[in-house]
């Protein structure tokens, strides 16, 4: 069997659809969470959703929908706790998260299910996804995309500056709850793809990667969506190809591919930030004392290899910790050392 044959199989096609919609939707909510400096919110909601899955197993209903309901309830609770934020705010969140995980494992035991059935939700089982779950994933992902992109101006404003948003007449509380609910829905969408314990990675890592090289919100958002798509489709592909030789779980592979993108981009971002800082024009202040250098073995110019920085009406060349500026006078030139 070849790779092409593998992707012709219905279960692989369902997996690919789930991977694509998850990869697109998760970073949208992730961007708003990172903007609010709540990058770990998705992780916490993933823990809470474990209880939802267990409730589904216990009551023999669809774990996807019980997980949505419990995750939303958890997200609203988190938002209420955050609103009444006091010194113990994040401790309260921790209690909720561990309660969710422990409760989930406990209830699964009560349901008489093995740890293995919970494991497919904890780390994802994209290749065993059924038609009903694919449809549920698509519907939820579309909801996340439509709301997350359609209300982008409002969500951006509220996340950027709550007080300003309130005085602009936006219903801040509504939008906060909306982001919390979207995060909960996204957790459930990504549950089958990467699993509840790795959900947050697909929401946050593409954003962290994208913002290495962007300087606008819009570029970060769309960049993160593109990276999320590449990571989840690529991760699925890699695990499918590898499956001919070894057993590779798609969920962790997707997350590792997303992390690999970050590792590739990070030095690039660091280099871009450094270059921007170096090329920042020198302050155009009244001339301070400078040293005149008549003999200079090197002719500065474009592409001479020295960092060229704008300085008022001329260009300085940074050279051994000095700033050299050519000073052209009648019958020749010399360099000023600033």
């Amino acid at each position: 069997m070849t790779v092409a044959d593998l992707f012709a199989m219905p279960f692989m096609q369902r997996a690919l659809i789930a991977a694509v919609v998850t990869g697109l939707a998760a970073p949208v909510v992730g961007t708003y969470l990172v903007q609010r400096r709540m990058a770990l919110m998705g992780d916490g909601l993933g823990h809470v959703a474990v209880t939802g899955v267990a409730l589904g197993l216990l009551t023999h209903t669809s774990p996807t929908w019980t997980a949505v309901i419990v995750a939303i309830a958890g997200a609203l609770l988190v938002e209420v706790i955050r609103e009444r934020a006091n010194a113990g705010g994040d401790v309260a969140l921790a209690l909720l998260f561990y309660g969710g995980l422990a409760g989930g494992v406990f209830l699964t035991g009560l349901a008489g299910e093995s740890a293995a059935s919970l494991q497919s939700y904890l780390f994802g089982s994209i290749t065993t996804i059924g038609i009903a779950d694919v449809l549920a994933t698509i519907i939820l992902a579309v909801v996340v995309l439509v709301v997350g992109l359609g209300l982008a101006p409002q969500l951006f404003t509220v996340a950027q500056d709550q007080e300003f948003a309130a005085v602009a007449g936006l219903r801040v509380r509504f939008y906060n709850l909306l982001v919390a609910v979207l995060a909960a829905v996204t957790v459930t969408v990504a549950m089958r793809t990467v699993g509840l314990l790795l959900v947050s990675a697909l929401m946050v890592v593409p954003v962290a990667t994208s913002q290495q090289v962007t300087n606008s919100f819009r570029a970060t958002l769309y960049g993160a969506m593109g990276l999320g798509l590449l990571a989840s489709a690529g991760g699925l592909g890699i695990s499918a190809v590898a499956s001919f030789r070894v057993t590779v779980a798609p969920g962790p592979t997707i997350v590792l591919v997303a992390l690999a993108f970050f590792l590739i981009t990070w030095p690039l971002g660091a280099w871009m930030r450094r270059r921007r800082r170096l090329q920042e024009p020198f302050a155009d202040l009244a001339a301070a004392e400078h040293t005149r250098v008549d003999e200079h073995a090197h002719e500065h110019g474009e592409d001479c290899g020295h960092l060229a920085v704008e300085h008022g009406d001329h260009v300085d060349y940074v050279h051994n910790g000095h700033r050299h500026a050519v000073h052209r006078v009648e019958g020749g030139h010399h360099y000023d050392e600033h």
Binding site: V34, G150, F156, T157, V167, F217
Partner: protein
């Protein structure tokens, strides 16, 4: 001191932009602002001053609705606060260390968020919106930085971005909470120039400031908060006079005992002092 109804062409805006009567604010059960009354007339430039913890920021937060009033009434443009919906008439510049957040955002995007008060849900930016955003950025002198990320700008430039954001909605009334805090003098001058242009347009400005610096010539009226009460409301004061118990030589309508020069206490208990008591007091 308050100029009454100004521009006849704007019709409805003849009502006072801000009218607070006997406002009080309680934070965690403790009364912070007590019986503050403040009316700001259209086109007025009011400086709200006072020491740290005097309640000046809390007062402006109460005026914008960020802090609920525990007592008293607040009207904006003649409408009781609870039924006020014309938020596009109000521009707010909150007190901020910077304009950045967890994700990069360009100057243009941050300023565009100030245009939301005039946009309908799910509609893209109209041509008028884009023009207003470009105008606001130009007014604060950041046109060549419009595409840059706000977090890469200097503190003064970030502060100007926040002012442009408030400008983008073309409001009539501005609340600025310490816009010059932590900003160097050249940038303070640039800020003062921007505020001067707002004043020329006839905007009403309520400015919270610890020190006025280059903004001093713009101020029409000073209001000084002291321990949660309005202690002075009248002609502009210099930065140093604000902290003077008697507010310099400016005569006020408040309880200032001119007959007791240097008296710092303003209570109503009769002051009976004799030489002996004073000596004992100094020793004890």
């Amino acid at each position: 001191m308050s100029r009454s109804a100004s521009d006849p062409t704007t019709g409805a805006s003849t009502a006072a932009p801000v009218q607070l009567r006997d406002g009080s604010v309680t934070i965690a059960g403790r009364p912070v602002i007590r019986q503050a009354s403040l009316t700001v007339a259209p086109g007025e430039f009011v400086a709200l001053m006072g020491a740290n913890g005097s309640g000046k920021s809390t007062l402006v937060r109460a005026l914008t609705g960020l802090r609920p009033l525990a007592g008293g009434t607040l009207e904006l443009f003649g409408t009781p606060f609870d039924s006020f919906r014309d938020w596009q008439r109000v521009g707010f510049v909150p007190q901020r260390a910077g304009a950045g957040s967890g994700v990069p955002a360009s100057v243009q995007e941050v300023v565009a968020s100030g245009r939301l008060t005039r946009r309908r849900l799910l509609r893209p930016l109209s041509r008028a919106d884009k023009a207003a955003i470009a105008r606001a950025i130009e007014l604060v002198g950041l046109t060549d930085k419009a595409k840059d990320g706000v977090s890469t700008l200097s503190g003064g430039q970030q502060q100007r971005t926040l002012i442009a954001r408030a400008l983008a909605g073309d409001p009539e009334l501005f609340f600025l909470d310490e816009p010059t805090a932590g900003v160097d003098l050249p940038n303070q001058k640039a800020l003062a120039d921007t505020l001067g242009r707002l004043k020329e347009r006839g905007s009403t400005v309520v400015l919270v400031a610890h020190e006025l610096g280059p903004m001093a010539p713009l101020v029409d009226r000073s209001v000084v908060m002291r321990d949660g009460r309005i202690a002075y409301d009248g002609a502009p004061l210099s930065d140093s006079a604000v902290h003077d118990p008697l507010f310099g030589d400016v005569h006020t309508q408040h309880h200032v005992h001119h007959d007791a020069p240097g008296a710092q206490q303003q209570d109503f208990a009769p002051k009976v002092t004799s030489l002996i008591e004073r000596t004992q007091g100094d020793q004890g």
